[in-house]
Point group: C2
């Protein structure tokens, strides 16, 4: 049964909805820290979400993603679009976001209420970065931004999980990425709605485009959209206008035949499963899975006194049993 949301949480949600940047920043911090009121804030903000367009930006380190995102943000601000940016760094599980947090990007926009920038880095296993990013994006949406940009550092499975929450995904490539570029591309080909070849003035830009086209010719387009390839030079702004109009074209495409709804539905289906899984573990932690007990089991397993593949089914049965006794 959902419990009543208390007044201060409700008030925070209202402040976020009214565009209060400090309230938004505070709420995202509560999410990052797994604070007890986090779920209530998300619940209270949920009715205000769903209107923003979410754009995911991923690509190899060194591809110039930050500069590209900055250029896009500037161009959209000129069009009077309001923007939230979440910069995510899953490669840094220990430093806690210092790398991105210290970025002095978009400094000239720091007093612009139409632009909100937030860095996030890896948190503990429970929840995970992809979930925290998704929740942060929800709050930014609730604050009324027209566009939410989610920028990641690399191209691993984490980044793919993160950009999965986007309506449109840009994959940024760069000429001269080295031997294993083939293996990198294999994983990201399928998530790209639009390819961007940045630093396109470098030697090899045409070869990268040819490689993308060759891969595309091998896979059959299932949904009547072949991801376009746009060349940019983010540092000079070249190609940014074309990229924006390509994003607009994809937005129009999504708006027809219920494609946007279908995409978001698929997303939510995976998302609630993950949320349930996390909630179950949280419940389990209070029923027979305390840190002390885990440590004792781990010690016995290491000493070969206990078999983990027999222990776990037993623990799960106990958890349910306990819950049964104390409803």
């Amino acid at each position: 049964m959902p419990h009543a949301i208390n007044t201060s949480t409700q008030k925070l949600a209202e402040q976020i909805h009214q565009g209060d940047t400090r309230a938004l920043a505070r709420a995202i911090s509560l999410i990052e820290n797994n604070a007890s009121q986090a779920q209530d804030i998300l619940s209270a903000c949920f009715p205000y979400t769903g209107k923003a367009l979410r754009i995911g930006i991923t690509g190899s380190p060194g591809a110039g993603k930050s500069t590209l995102v900055d250029q896009l943000a500037r161009a959209w601000r000129k069009q009077e679009q309001t923007i939230g940016i979440v910069a995510v760094d899953p490669t840094s599980p220990f430093t806690g976001g210092a790398i991105l947090g210290d970025r002095i990007r978009l400094q000239d926009h720091s007093s612009d209420p139409g632009l909100y920038v937030r860095s996030m880095a890896t948190r503990g296993a429970l929840g995970g970065l992809a979930q925290a990013t998704a929740d942060a994006a929800q709050l930014i949406e609730a604050s009324g931004k027209d566009l939410v940009l989610i920028e990641t550092v690399g191209v691993g499975q984490d980044e793919i999980d993160i950009v999965r929450l986007s309506d449109i995904t840009l994959v940024i490539l760069v000429p001269g990425m080295g031997d294993d570029v083939q293996s990198l591309k294999a994983g990201i080909m399928e998530i790209a709605d639009i390819f961007v070849i940045n630093k396109a003035d470098r030697e090899g830009a045409d070869r990268v485009e040819k490689e993308i086209r060759a891969m595309q010719s091998l896979s059959h387009s299932v949904d009547n959209w072949t991801p376009p390839v746009i060349k940019t030079i983010a540092t000079t702004g070249a190609g940014i206008a074309e990229l924006i109009s390509t994003i607009d074209a994809r937005k129009t495409w999504l708006a027809t035949e219920g494609r946007m709804e279908a995409k978001r539905q698929t997303y939510w289906q995976q998302r609630i499963e993950t949320m349930v899984q996390q909630a179950l573990l949280k419940a389990a932690r209070t029923h027979g899975l305390s840190t002390e007990e885990l440590a004792q089991h781990a010690q016995r397993i290491t000493a070969k006194e206990e078999n983990p593949y027999q222990l776990v089914p037993n623990l799960v049965a106990e958890i349910f049993q306990h819950r049964k006794a104390k409803p």
Copy 2:
């Protein structure tokens, strides 16, 4: 309560223990495919595990990890050590391991019963690649190999999760990795027991070493081991002997003051928590969380008719309730 393991599963476990390579390959496939007997095989093999040394190898794409692993394997085989290699590719969530699977590596060893090579790629969210890799490593251990090498493709969070199961972790760097090498290093500095600078004949090898040393001087060594930096040229075999003696030194270090036990205990503590979480979700899938029901909820959430942050606590309560009714 643990159920009885059936005879054919028990027989498969015995075959693995006796070093039957085809039985081992079949069992790993069962794990990859989440087959119903997977947990029973792991349970039956568990008593035969714990004796092998697990070595994790990670580093940027293009760092020459495969060649290095091949050279290490060759050198260890000459020392009569038996070896299992698990090559993991988390960057390829859709292609299902074709990239690594097609590798024609170590061809001249293909008839050597002392060497077993297996490729793995990303599977669905349930279970996950890190878990499947850990389970595969367990089975390889049970087959009696002295060394289990776990090689990953990149340096993201996934790779870190994967190498966490190792006793010793090698991080492979290479000169001239580009602008964002700093940000890559930040995440992997903490997991490296030994740094390897491969392709050390390239320009910039000394600079990479200096950068590692500079970072090490900033962080204080908590456990009386400053990760050594070894230079190799995997293609020629240069530095391999030194690398092997450094791995031996780390093994000796681990063998004292109960360090190995402490490390494995920490690993198992995290591992059983993950296993419980997965088992809970699996139980939930049969109690009120069918794919059809998930799809219906997702549809209502997308249409703003349902609030996911209220739904999930309700679903979890229902799951426990259901279980209570049918013990």
